[in-house]
């Protein structure tokens, strides 16, 4: 029982990271109808940036500042590489984001260096013991951070003029323009938000371990999350992220009992298997709109 709960809690922590990443994907998808494959790179550069900033500024300031810098980079990328392509086929734009991803990743990766770098988080691999259940502090932190960010996002989309305009533009771009909504601002805001979310996710993904060049692979796990939750649903991103995180942790934990002869841990496959199963029943994801365009 304790082992099960331990796995669930670690899954929720990891799932919170997926949630943050998936929210970025969904926000961009809703505003532009495009999946941005640049998210993993923004995630990695966020973690690397924070590893440089936190020794000087302290961890918390570094996280916020790092998030803002990555958001600014995303803003520039959107303006230079994506905006001129608006109106072209979504496939073309998706490929451009892959190019952006590789460029950003190579540039950022050059700063990882040979020495182990840490993001300077206060948790490391420390655990709290709740009646025999081992809960890693970094997982609790990731979960709390994700909860706060989701609440802020909900308030943003509900109450602020730009948040409301973004929802309107997602539903009907031309009608939103007729109301005077500047669609360019909507695109830019969505990219900046996605960049910020990716950077925060990167910090939590890197917490506890030294940075390595392959951190961005965590970002790919957000893909089954958004497919599972529904491409155009923020709620789907939250639920999907947590579900995938928990399933992955459970499979990883019980892998050796079920497949004692298999060297590779099946935990990494679990998200994709869950995604396939859900798609068989609901092709548009758990919370997605039925007529969502395929990319």
């Amino acid at each position: 029982m304790n082992e099960l709960l331990t796995a669930v809690f670690s899954g929720l922590g990891q799932g919170s990271i997926y949630t943050l990443l998936a929210l970025g994907f969904v926000i961009i998808y809703k505003s532009m109808g495009v999946i941005s494959f640049a998210q993993p790179a923004f995630m990695m550069s966020g973690a690397i940036l924070v590893s440089y900033l936190s020794p000087r500024l302290g961890f918390w300031v570094a996280v916020v500042l790092g998030g803002l810098v990555v958001a600014a980079v995303a803003l520039v990328v959107e303006r230079l590489a994506i905006r001129p392509m608006v109106g072209k086929a979504v496939f073309v734009i998706a490929i451009i984001t892959i190019g952006v991803d590789i460029i950003v990743r190579v540039v950022a990766g050059a700063f990882v260096g040979a020495d182990p770098r840490l993001v300077g988080d206060p948790w490391g691999l420390d655990t709290w013991s709740l009646g025999g259940v081992q809960v890693q502090q970094r997982h609790v932190a990731a979960f709390v951070a994700a909860a706060v960010i989701v609440a802020l996002l909900a308030a943003f989309f509900r109450s602020t003029p730009i948040g409301l305009a973004m929802r309107a533009a997602a539903l009907d771009q031309e009608a939103a323009m007729a109301q005077g909504v500047n669609v360019g601002t909507v695109f830019a805001t969505s990219w900046a938000m996605a960049g910020f979310l990716a950077a925060i996710a990167g910090v939590f993904a890197a917490a506890g371990n030294p940075l390595d060049q392959n951190l961005w692979i965590v970002g790919l796990a957000a893909l089954p999350v958004i497919i599972l939750g529904g491409l155009d649903s923020l709620l789907g991103a939250v639920v999907g992220g947590l579900v995938i995180g928990v399933v992955e942790a459970l499979v990883r934990n019980y892998h050796s009992d079920v497949f004692p002869d298999l060297a590779t841990n099946t935990g990494s496959l679990a998200p994709y298997v869950v995604m396939l199963l859900v798609l068989l029943v609901r092709p548009y994801g758990l919370f997605g709109t039925k007529e969502v365009e395929r990319v």
């Binding site: 929802r167 309107a168 323009m177 109301q179 005077g180 909504v181």
Partner: protein, 261 residues
Amino acid sequence: MLSVQNLEVVYDDVVLALRGVSLEIPDDRIVALLGANGAGKSTLLRALSGMLDIHDGDVRKGDVTLDGTSVARLSATAMAGRGIKHVLEGRRVFRELSVEENLRVGAHVARKDLRANLVRVYDLFPRLVERKDQLAGFLSGGEQQMLAIGRALMSGPRYLLLDEPSLGLAPMVVAQIRDIIAEINHQGTGVLLVEQNATMALQIAHHGYVMETGRVVMDRPAAELLADDDIREFYLGLGAEGERTSYRDVKHYRRRKRWAS
């Protein structure tokens, strides 16, 4: 006054949609714009509201002027900010937002007057008050049209460009919408009313234009248009003697008369 002079609009660098259109919308007037499908009515509205570029349309010649200054190159956002609001054909409410959220989006360029405009719109459309927390997609067609018009009014525009507000609505509802348009105009908003339902449009309009294949072919006070024989025959469905023509009789010879040739 909002006006266009000798406007030529080309789509995709190839399709000539407007071939030198001139038209004036005086403040506080209702101007009706009639014409068959493909005559260029919606294109003209897009040119007036800055929405041409997203349809790959381009102004080749002529100009759009607001109080004498050219506004032909301005974006949709800038035009909305200058008080020109376009109500798109087919209502286009934000289906998954509530009625009140739809209205709040409509106030995007006039945030500080949101309260006052909300009161005004709810006064004009009491039906929307009852449904303000419902999703707009669940409203009836007539209510959605009211919402679309109310949404445009939320920024207190000087000019309202209405693209076929009677589209797909029952005759009773059309009459309701007609009266509301007259009331909006009475409150001091200039209206350009694009309609296929010529009877409805000419009942409330002060002035009317008829378009055909990208040109204005008639430009007269609405009362004169109502009395014009050709208009009566082609747009109001009345025979030359003023009696309703049976569709069977029309079919026999299917005269296609054009003013422009």
